[in-house]
């Protein structure tokens, strides 16, 4: 059985982690390379760097960060934010990313998914979808959740997979930062509709939320950010709780 993954997301801007991240004994660590390595040591299964820079100028240091991270990180690294062409995707992979996540750029030009999969293989291509509950369904938003589209999240997820995405990262805008649990209905609707792995995102507050995302939401992976960064809990503690609850998580080397 493939185990359920715990994915740690770091928001970056100008080559630094933007939200303060506190580790025990350390007040604030803003260096993404250092942080990624620490989360690996804690038992994270995967790291995501999401670049929230407003301009391409501000985004420039990202590839250098990816390069330095790949030299120290021995778990998969996904990079997202501002990747809008095959060239940008290839540059991210060459720099050290194992996977690339795309969001607004694929809504604007869906064929980008097909082009990306042809070059890198579907397993490197993550379609990131931000969705909000509206009128009994889930509407897709772009540009960091600011711009509504006419797309339904489930239909869009299916189309992304048909075009070449090898994984879906589904974020609930309603739950993002709320720590009240993932939107299980949204997660399950997407996970049941596609044949690729699905990463649940938005709303994690405690271990039981992750267990629910896996068992009730049918997700393959669960993404975390805030509750780890503010020292509220650790990956190791969460995975220990998940293990006790009967969730199949990765064993660490003795």
């Amino acid at each position: 059985m493939t185990t359920r993954r715990v994915v740690v997301c770091l928001d970056m801007k100008g080559g630094r982690v933007v939200k303060g991240v506190k580790f025990e004994g350390l007040r604030d660590v803003g260096d993404p390379v250092e942080l990624a390595a620490r989360y690996e040591a804690e038992g994270a299964d995967e790291i995501v760097f999401l670049d929230v820079s407003a301009s391409s100028e501000e985004r420039k240091p990202l590839l250098d960060v990816a390069r330095r991270t790949a030299e120290r990180l021995f778990i998969p690294l996904t990079i997202g934010g501002g990747i809008d062409s095959v060239d940008a995707l290839t540059a991210a992979l060459r720099a050290g990313a194992d996977k690339v996540s795309m969001n607004s750029s694929i809504v604007k030009r869906p064929e980008l998914l097909t082009e990306a999969a042809a070059v890198a293989g579907a397993q490197c291509v993550v379609a990131s979808i931000d969705a909000k509950r509206e009128g009994g369904g889930f509407r897709v938003y772009t540009h960091g959740g600011k711009r509504p589209t006419d797309l339904d999240a489930v239909a869009w997820a299916k189309r992304c997979v048909a075009l070449g995405a090898g994984e879906i990262l589904i974020t609930s805008i309603d739950r993002d930062g709320a720590r009240t649990g993932y939107d299980l209905e949204l997660t399950r609707a997407v996970a049941d509709a596609v044949g690729v792995p699905v990463i649940a995102s938005g709303g994690a507050g405690q271990a039981s939320h992750l267990a629910d995302a896996f068992e009730k939401g049918h997700a393959d992976a669960a993404l975390l950010a805030g509750i780890l960064h503010d020292g509220h809990t650790t990956v190791r503690a969460l995975k220990a709780e998940l293990g006790k609850a009967g969730v199949d998580v990765r064993k660490e080397a003795a």
Binding site: M1, T2, T3, R5, E40, D45, R67, A70, E71, R72, L73, F74, I75, P76, T90, L93, R94, A95, G96, A97, D98, K99, A118, V119, A120, G121, A122, Q123, C124, G166, E167, G195, V196, P197, D220, A221, R250, K251, E252, A253, A254
Partner: protein
């Protein structure tokens, strides 16, 4: 020990180079596979798509095959392992053809297979990211299997001094690097 990695031009080689360095293996990157022949270890890394990689490998294909027949120690990771075989459903062109068999699409519910999966005889899970798997004609070359969605996947193959792994040991944390070291020792000693 000195290893030579054949770069097909598609993806991240940094983790593998650094992982090898941690194991005391000094790796250089070559864009012509012929230049990898004669190294202590020839490495076909695991990133990209089969058709593109086969095309890049084509001019050196026969020479590489001959080297493997002549006991050149070699390691293939993911796509690199698949390139030891004859051909793939993923794309046109030929693999090295050192191990007889085809590479075909996974048949389970979830394709690609992405995540940490147990490998027979290995104490911890290893990280997989693939849509295609090797189907050796001679099952005896398979040294360990993994199970994904009820389908058996050749996880580790070995023939002569050539070893291939379908998972990514360089992405499987500390346990992955340890296993990588063991496999390299087996084919080089």
């Amino acid at each position: 020990m000195k290893a030579a990695l054949f770069d097909f031009g598609a993806g991240n080689l940094h983790s593998l180079v650094r992982g090898l360095a941690q194991l005391g293996v000094d790796a250089r990157i070559e864009t012509d596979a012929k230049n990898c022949i004669g190294a202590d270890l020839l490495v076909l890394p695991g990133v990209g798509a089969f058709g593109h990689a086969a095309q890049r490998l084509a001019p050196a294909r026969e020479a590489v095959k001959q080297a493997l027949v002549n006991d050149q120690p070699a390691l293939g990771i993911c796509l690199g392992m698949q390139l030891f075989f004859d051909s793939s459903e993923e794309g046109a062109g030929q693999g090295v053809g050192f191990i007889e068999g085809q590479v075909t699409r996974l048949t389970g519910k979830h394709v690609p297979h992405i995540g940490w999966t147990p490998v027979e005889g290995v104490p911890t899970e290893m990280y997989y990211a693939h849509s295609y798997a090797c189907r050796p004609k001679d099952p005896a070359v398979v040294k360990a299997w993994s199970l994904h969605d009820g389908e058996r996947i050749a996880a580790i193959v070995r023939k002569g001094r050539t070893v291939g792994v379908q998972f990514h040991p360089e992405k499987s944390s500390r346990a992955g690097l340890q296993l990588l070291g063991t496999l390299i020792r087996e084919v080089t000693s």
